[in-house]
Symmetry: none
Subunit: 249 residues, 2 copies
């Protein structure tokens, strides 16, 4: 049997079932597992499949929307993501919100981090689950059309039943006078519930959003433990926040 035939067969199986086990292919084609593994390795190098322990899975599931890097201030958000990594330790339980900054963080997480992530954002969940050592749990509920996060009573209810080490979220409005603010009532409810579900709260925000306010208050600044921006902590722009009981990154 030709190598190409075998690989075509494997490809077909993957397209059909989204995954193959080396042992299965080996049995089906009566060839050694070594050969299968070498085929999978080759196909993986060509980008046709994703090799995993025990076999391979299709690549088509690899998140279709993430092409086209049209994220606003992406460079800054990547910087923020890098800084945030310092807060993440092995075996932590983390809760995250949504937003493009959080997506950047999800991408930036090192592959060897072993942790559990709760998230209310399906996008973040899909990004996180690409990491082999993360357990990803989506807090489900009604999906908000505008913010692409889960909202509603069911989300708040589920959040009331967990307690995590660290919560990461973005901020819509953030200022000394008004604390953390939002424009959407539903989102406010969810963020408050997230606040109650965590020991430590970190806000990831580009500096541009600081000193701005929205209509509805989420919480006071004293409830925030960490503030992570793309600026250096001693930047004069952050002056107003440097004396607070709030760690800058």
């Amino acid at each position: 049997m030709l190598k190409e035939e075998r690989q075509a067969f494997i490809m077909k199986q993957i397209n059909l079932h989204n995954k193959v086990l080396s042992t299965d292919i080996s049995a089906m084609l009566s060839i050694s597992e070594d050969t299968v593994r070498r085929d999978l390795k080759e196909m993986a190098e060509e980008g046709k499949v994703l090799k995993v322990h025990g076999g391979a899975i299709g690549r088509s599931f690899h998140y279709p929307f993430d092409e086209g890097n049209s994220v606003y201030a992406q460079a800054a958000k990547k910087q923020i993501a890098e800084k945030t990594l310092k807060l993440l330790k092995n075996d932590m339980v983390v809760l995250t919100g949504g937003g493009t900054t959080m997506i950047e963080l999800a991408k930036a997480i090192p592959v060897n981090l072993r942790a559990t992530f709760f998230t209310i954002s399906p996008l973040v969940a899909l990004q996180l689950v690409e990491h082999p050592n993360l357990t990803v749990i989506t807090i489900g509920g009604q999906l908000s059309r505008s913010s692409h996060i889960h909202i509603g009573a069911s989300v708040i209810n589920q959040l009331s039943e967990i307690k995590v080490d660290l919560c990461l979220m973005g901020a819509n409005g953030f200022s000394i006078q008004d604390g953390m603010t939002e424009s959407d009532w539903e989102v406010v409810q969810v963020k408050r519930a997230m606040l109650r579900a965590t020991n430590k709260m970190a806000i990831l925000s580009i500096a541009e959003k600081l000193n701005s306010s929205q209509r509805m208050k989420v919480c006071d600044l004293n409830q925030i433990n960490y503030l992570i921006t793309e600026l250096e902590p001693d930047n004069h722009f952050l002056g107003a926040y440097q004396h607070l009981d709030l760690q800058l990154f």
Copy 2:
């Protein structure tokens, strides 16, 4: 024997079997393998065949993987999606699984449909929420790395609390003998819970997956109300399913 003759013969064999082995041709025509190799090399340079170690394969063989949209059998899946639309009525409550076919369905839903969709797939949820008149509710839980759907006890628990009009899901294995089958135990559990949560069950599957079985059984065919494939209902390939208490589309 003339070179043209030989190459015509080789071409015929390739059209017939999609591949040739150098040794076979050599034996059949009583010429040296070198000559065959040289012929194949020449034909490959003209683009007539694809030369591989051990022989050659038809052009149509290797190509399909590289070209086009990376979703397997997307045309068929779009057809399935179109047919499925007939089952959807305004104000319905629908539950969906995951998979590329379901994504295609989510894309194909008309903008004016007003309905509520529960789904265990974050990808499907994100696609559905683009439609202005749909309410989208994600059944959250642990996100499966391999299938990108939510699995686990929490999912099953949430499913036990809802009752929907129609459930749409894909099938990994589907046959008269074994019913609907899956290869992943967790997925089996979730699918069974989905079955319990719905009044009507529709299976969306490309015909290629019919008459194939996986290791674990989800349910018998009599629990399925609709089977939607890309084929016409009276297609002879579906013969075995035409007499069942199961509506074909």
